[in-house]
Symmetry: C2
Subunit: 344 residues, 2 copies
């Protein structure tokens, strides 16, 4: 059994240091200014970091618990990826550039094979996104992962939830519903052929944070968030914070070829209220359409218009989403978004 | 059963906003510069914060797990205090000024009474230390609390672990061992009268982060850390990072009147290797003695000299601490520091 400190050192601190060396070597004053500064990483009471001059630090934290966010038999490499991916997705939704993260976790036992695979998945994504591990904490306990991520963004271009304006288009990135389809297959709610099932499982276990798209949307999009609990519920957060309503074409929600092979009611359920998509939902003025299609092409991530931000009802207590189908006929949707404290 | 979002809003977001209003009203450009900026708090994908101009953000994360860091029957108010206190203690050990924190937790169920008491303990300390809740995450699962805390410090006065120099005095704040004495009483390892037992339990459950002392030690102390896993093990971290040795007088370790009433071997065990002290251990040049005693008086926290930083053995693999008693006779101590992954 490894002691706590040798365990941290072996799988995390050393690789964090290795990952850091190349960029330190290339560290010009110019890149430090653009990227932010990490003056002190793992190994002290605190890390010391700073955003680039004139920018803000964007901070988000997510906790992943076995049985709620992943299955007990999840591949540790996929879990390492996902634990960081869902946090980077929050930076993407803010238009922030990744800088660093901390990792705290409790584990039932210090299993070297598991830790090696978990840290591989984690660092592969961290290095690809140029996001350095700067601190952490490990303890014995039921499996629980808590990552806090730090990025940087100039205040005036941050993609806030409260910035949607009347007449804005509503957009989503990528496709929706594949992760929910994967969960449904794992639960036996519906079936798919082996290839499609593998696609859905991959969507569930290895979401790709839309960091580049978020950066490209600075100055173009008004409001944004990442879809973690399902479009219906998450879009409501933009409407609440912006005090707006919306109309959305449920048939326009982008879906994969694989999802299109599932029954129509399953497609609707997965695209409208599926959790774990980690795509961006954002609003932008009509005048920005061509620019958004161009940056979407540039970063290789599809962006689809799904609806419009509309004026709030006078004195309405809560915002509403008017759903309709491709023919314009109204739809009544009663689907709830994913909510961790609802009864199972 | 409250839904996740109404639960967060009720106990955390609203009070975070209330706590923020008074300081916002008093926000002069000057105080913002000194204190750092919180441009966006709870409710978006990310918080947006910045350290004061020219300073670094000091960041630390700690995870608390039932059965490892607290008893299942801990008072939730005390737990709310301690979860934040152990994180603020890391800022103190860096000489950093508290600015903000995030809270992620998993709970078996959304118990309103428990949450009300927990959030009271948390916010009482947060407001006292002027540290704002800026983000969080809640989920259902075994009780687990993860706080990440943000402070600010100018790089050149940060109290790093690698800054101890040969000839430095070694100091500790407050008294050592009371929390370990409380744990021993709870476990039935030893007994004390009811008043002393209550004192020990309070030390275990309501540690006071030494934030003001940490700030006062800027420019005076060389190296510092907070004692969370016991002096013997934690001092070793300073020695490893600074590549130094130390001599320490085990009889000089400051202890409470209550601890002095326990058997001598228990006193030694608790002061040398007790966990959960959350006192500062720091090193400083001999020339700083009078200044340290003065700032210690000013903030009302005792500081005691316990030993000296000495030169490393040439080519030694690991640093050593030479323990001796008040008469100068060498002691052989085999006590381990607290290590979460050692067998129970």
């Amino acid at each position: 059994m490894l002691s706590e400190f040798s365990l941290i050192d072996r799988f995390f601190a050393r690789r964090a240091a290795r990952a850091r060396s190349p960029s330190s070597a290339a560290d010009s004053a110019n890149s430090a200014l653009r990227k932010g500064t990490i003056a002190l990483g793992i190994g002290d009471d605190c890390a010391l970091i700073a955003p680039p001059a004139g920018e803000m630090m964007a901070i988000s934290t997510d906790m992943l618990v076995e049985g709620r966010h992943f299955f007990a038999d999840v591949e540790p490499r996929a879990l390492g990826h996902k634990a960081l991916a869902v946090n980077l997705s929050d930076l993407a939704a803010m238009g922030a550039k990744p800088l660093a993260f901390t990792l705290a976790f409790s584990l039932p036992r210090a299993d070297e094979t598991w830790l090696a695979a978990f840290s591989d998945g984690l660092f592969d994504l961290a290095e690809r996104c140029d996001c350095e591990l700067v601190g952490g904490d490990t303890t014995r306990g039921p499996l629980n992962l808590c990552i806090t991520v730090f990025g940087s963004v100039p205040t005036h271009v941050a993609l806030r939830r409260d910035a949607a304006r009347e007449g804005d288009d509503i957009w989503v990135s990528g496709t929706l519903g594949d992760a929910r389809a994967g969960l449904g297959i794992a639960r036996g709610e519906w079936q798919a052929n082996a290839n499609d099932a593998a696609h859905f499982r991959r969507a569930l276990e290895r979401p790709e944070p839309r960091v580049e798209l978020g950066l490209a949307l600075r100055g173009l999009a008004h409001a944004a968030l990442d879809i973690s609990d399902g479009l219906a519920g998450d879009l409501m957060h933009i409407l609440e914070r912006s005090r707006m309503n919306a109309t959305v074409d449920a048939d326009a929600l982008p879906r994969s070829a694989q999802l299109s092979r599932l029954p129509a009611d399953v497609q609707r359920r997965c695209t409208v209220a599926g959790g774990d998509d980690y795509e961006l939902c954002f609003t932008a003025p009509v005048a920005a359409r061509a620019s958004i299609e161009k940056v979407s092409d540039n970063v290789g991530i599809r962006a689809t218009r799904i609806g419009t931000i509309t004026a709030p009802e006078p004195a309405a207590a809560a915002p509403t989403i008017a759903w309709h189908d491709a023919a314009g006929a109204p739809l009544t949707l009663t689907l709830q978004s994913f909510d961790h404290f609802h009864a199972d």
